[in-house]
Amino acid sequence: MTEQPMRVVIAEDHYLVREGTRRLLEDTGDVAVVSAVGDAAELLAAVEELRPEAVIADIRMPPSHHTEGIAAAHAIRAGHPGIGVVMLSQHADENYAFDLFQRGTDGLAYLLKERIGELDELLRALREVAAGRSVVDPRIVEVLMGSHTRAADAPLAALTRRELDVLRHMAEGKTNRAIARALVLSESTIEKHVNATFTKLGLAEEPQLHRRVSAVLAYLRHAPRGAG
């Protein structure tokens, strides 16, 4: 592989985490950290100036330490649709993911912060968002899939158990082949389930690339609500 390393900007207010992440990423040789900044304003300035391929941003940053990262991600995606954003969050709460994905899933990833340790995962997410796709941390998907909370009109109520299984793997970013391996099924069977799921969720007309994560996120957005 003689690919150019991916140009990435890191935004993280905690110095040790910021530098640790930078070293980990640069250590791989696949990533060039062109800038490492401490807050959202600096991040936006760096993005404007450096035009990286992807950004890794902490969800909580100065000044108020709430969800500045999400606001910055939305700003970046709005201003530069070509730049992907990987959101690193200490919150295992799915609501933050919903918040991030509320305007669309393209080019956005929601990962728990400890995924820094799973370097492969992090690199994969960077590549996915840079390509305009989307990743959701398996922990979040796990919570949603494991949840017994249902509303009568939730779209996923129509899915079979097998289709839900497939959807979960899909949400973890796996290809059909990987899902087939994990579930010990043929790839064509998986493909059938995937298409059935898309149809049931009303995603049949979406472009192929987006449908996979959209399927999950459609569920994510609808699942928790019950309307009366």
């Binding site: 709460d93 609501n95 933050y96 912060k113 340790g117 919570v143 017994h148 249902r150 009568a152 309307a227």
Partner: protein, 689 residues
């Protein structure tokens, strides 16, 4: 004496006519004969009026009849006197008697009736006095003695025929009987009283002091007549004499009228209007007063020039005025009792109301004061009976039966602003009609009463509120203590989790890293150890996340109640259905409200897991009329709410009440549990799209 109705009526009419005749002739026809006018006013008129009054109200009563006959006879006497004066002066008749023997037959027509009339007056006075109080003879001696007095009527005829000098006859038939017989009557009454006392007849015996006083007075006055020959019909002594002369008639009239009212002298069942009694007394007193004043003036006129005598008359009138006023006032007081003036009435009520916080006592006081103060037949005061205030009714006087026709009283509402706080009802006045002033008095009273009731109401409300405040303060103290206690417990728990959990995990991690380094030093494979270390580190992060979440779920601050609740619900191991009103997605409530609502739901879900053994839970969050309503329903085992005193439930309640909400827990054994809470819907931010 026992004449039937028409006879008495004719006599009374005749007497009245004579009186009118005498006054007319005395005032307009005769000159220089005004000496007897004071006599008319001071003695004749009062007596006639009193007699008329008494007879009018008790026609069958002997005392009343005698009094009327006395008045009539006095009037006839004065009528004859003026007629003879008219005949003498204007028409030149000679009516004078010779030194001895009867006058001329024509003169006899005038003189003899006058003398008989005067004698009859005196004899009737004796009868009246001697047979008080009922006018009927009780002892055997009385009738013969009194009847024998009528023999005196023979004197005017017998004495002249017997050759007694005319001057002596005059004394025998005119001056002395008139002077002495009232004294004789009073003396006979004294004897009657003494006999009655011996016989144990109390009703007569009680008159003894009165009889003694009257006897003393009348006899004293009679004695003064002995000196009449010396001073003639003029001078200061004549004045005193004439004043005293009228005294028996005035006193008898006053006594009879007063006793008629006070002691029901004229009959037990006769109800006499007090104002009539008072009016009669007033007439008697005023007549006597006028007579006295005129006597004084006329007497003065004999000695002083006309200007001075007028001055004397005016002075005398002025001097007598306080006496008259005092007598009138006395009469009024005696007749009407202690009737209060409107002003006094209000002052009295004012002082009653001042301390009136007890309506049960105030109502009867008002009713009694009103009834007595205004002289009403009855009064009823109802206070309260509005809102929470119980009604208190006070009654005074004899209220007629509810269905009695024509006795309906008037009503006056006790109003404060628009609130009707009670009702004052009253019957007609015992005497006279209800004047606008009386109406004003009741109105003022009603306003004062309204103020009092209002005060009582305020006081009651205040005390209720103070009690409520004290109860709340006590409850608040307890709940505050519980909250502090719970907080301290929570802090200790967090401290334990950090020290005994996370810190220990980190220590273990350090130990494992040291192990890896040792292996590395020996050239061993550290890959497995490092993987273990990394997994351990993930666990520590999870643990830390959980602790932090337990202290305060960040999603609640960052995204609000709905996100926090759904997030909490998703982590429940049993099915949870969440119903959240759509508009709530766009609303952020005040932090304490969101936190309290979340804490409530979270605690309720924890309880469901711990105790309920439920198969499903439903959470509802909605906005209702300014309240945020939160409900958690499970289908678990439930619990008896009246006996369960869990610190968890108390903690929930404390927390909700601390932000001004309320909490209702409905549960029965085996029928699940519903926890429902209302919180003030204090909106911090509302996103409109």
């Amino acid at each position: 004496m026992r004449g039937n109705g028409p006879a008495i009526r004719i006599a009374a009419f005749f007497g009245g006519s004579c009186l009118l005749w005498a006054v007319t002739t005395g005032a307009f026809l005769l000159e220089n004969n005004t000496v007897t006018l004071p006599w008319i006013l001071g003695a004749v008129l009062p007596c006639y009026c009193a007699g008329l009054f008494a007879w009018w109200h008790a026609p069958a009563n002997p005392v009343a009849r005698r009094l009327l006959l006395i008045g009539t006879a006095l009037s006839v006497s004065i009528g004859i006197r003026y007629t003879s004066a008219l005949l003498t002066v204007r028409f030149g008749w000679d009516l004078s008697a010779p030194e001895n023997g009867l006058p001329s037959p024509t003169a006899c027509l005038v003189v003899l009736p006058a003398e008989w009339d005067n004698l009859a007056v005196s004899i009737l006075v004796v009868h009246l006095l001697a047979l008080l109080p009922d006018g009927r003879s009780r002892f055997r001696y009385e009738r013969p003695v009194l009847r024998s007095l009528w023999a005196l009527l023979a004197l005017p005829f017998v004495l002249p025929l017997a050759g007694v000098p005319t001057r002596v006859v005059e004394f025998a038939v005119f001056y002395y009987p008139e002077a002495w017989l009232p004294g004789v009557g009073a003396t006979l009454l004294v004897v009657r009283c003494l006999r009655a006392r011996a016989a144990g007849e109390r009703d007569v015996a009680v008159l003894l002091p009165l009889a003694l006083a009257a006897a003393g007075l009348f006899l004293g006055r009679a004695v003064s007549r002995l000196f009449r020959t010396w001073h003639g019909e003029s001078g200061i002594l004549y004045l005193i004499g004439s004043a005293l002369g009228a005294l028996p008639y005035v006193l008898i009239s006053l006594s009879v009228v007063y006793a008629a009212l006070r002691y029901r002298l004229l009959g037990v069942d006769i109800v006499i209007r007090r104002s009539v009694v008072y009016g009669t007394l007033w007439l008697i007193i005023s007549g006597w007063y006028l007579g006295m004043a005129m006597t004084l003036g006329l007497t003065a006129g004999q000695y002083f020039p006309i200007g001075l005598s007028v001055l004397v008359a005016v002075t005398a009138t002025a001097l007598f005025q306080p006496l008259r006023a005092k007598l009138n006032q006395l009469a009024e007081r005696r007749v009407f009792g202690d009737r209060l003036s409107s002003f006094e009435l209000l002052v009295q009520f004012g002082s009653v109301l001042e301390h009136a916080y007890d309506l049960s006592r105030l109502a009867p006081q008002l009713a009694a004061g009103l009834q007595q103060g205004l002289g009403l037949q009855w009064a009823r005061v109802r206070l309260g009976g509005c809102g929470d205030l119980p009604a208190h009714v006070g009654r005074a006087g004899e209220e007629p039966a509810a269905d009695a026709a024509g006795t309906a009283g008037s009503g006056f509402p006790v109003c404060y602003g628009k609130d009707v706080l009670g009702l004052i009802e009253y019957g007609p006045k015992s005497e006279g009609r209800f004047t606008p002033e009386d109406h004003d008095v009741v109105g003022t009273l009603a306003r004062q009463a309204a103020l009092a009731v209002h005060n009582v109401r305020l006081a009651a409300e205040l005390s209720t509120r103070i009690e409520e405040a004290q109860r709340q303060a006590g409850e608040l103290d307890a709940s505050r203590a519980r909250i502090v206690h719970a907080q301290d417990g929570e802090r200790r728990r967090i401290e334990r989790r950090l020290h005994d959990g996370i810190q220990q995990d980190l220590v273990a991690l350090v130990a494992k890293l040291r192990l890896a380094r040792n292996r590395l030093g020996r050239g061993g494979d550290v890959h497995a150890v490092l993987t273990e270390v990394q997994d351990d580190a993930y666990r520590v992060i999870d643990e830390l996340r959980e602790v932090a979440h337990g202290i305060h779920p960040p999603v609640l601050t960052d995204q609000g109640l709905v996100a926090a609740v759904t997030s909490r619900a998703r982590r429940m191991p049993i099915p949870v259905t969440v119903h959240i009103e759509e508009s709530l997605d766009r609303v952020r409530f005040a932090l304490d409200i969101e936190e309290s609502a979340f804490y409530l739901i979270s605690e309720a879900l924890t309880n469901v897991l711990k105790h309920a053994d439920a198969t499903r839970v439903t959470i509802r969050i909605a906005r209702r009329e300014g309240w945020l309503v939160v409900e958690v329903v499970d289908d678990g085992v439930g619990f008896p709410t009246d006996t369960t005193r869990g610190s968890g439930l108390t903690g929930m309640r404390d927390r909700i009440e601390a932000v001004g909400g309320d909490l209702r827990i409905t549960s029965r054994s085996g029928a699940g549990t519903t926890i429902r809470s209302r919180l003030a819907e204090r909106v911090r931010e509302e996103i409109r799209d």
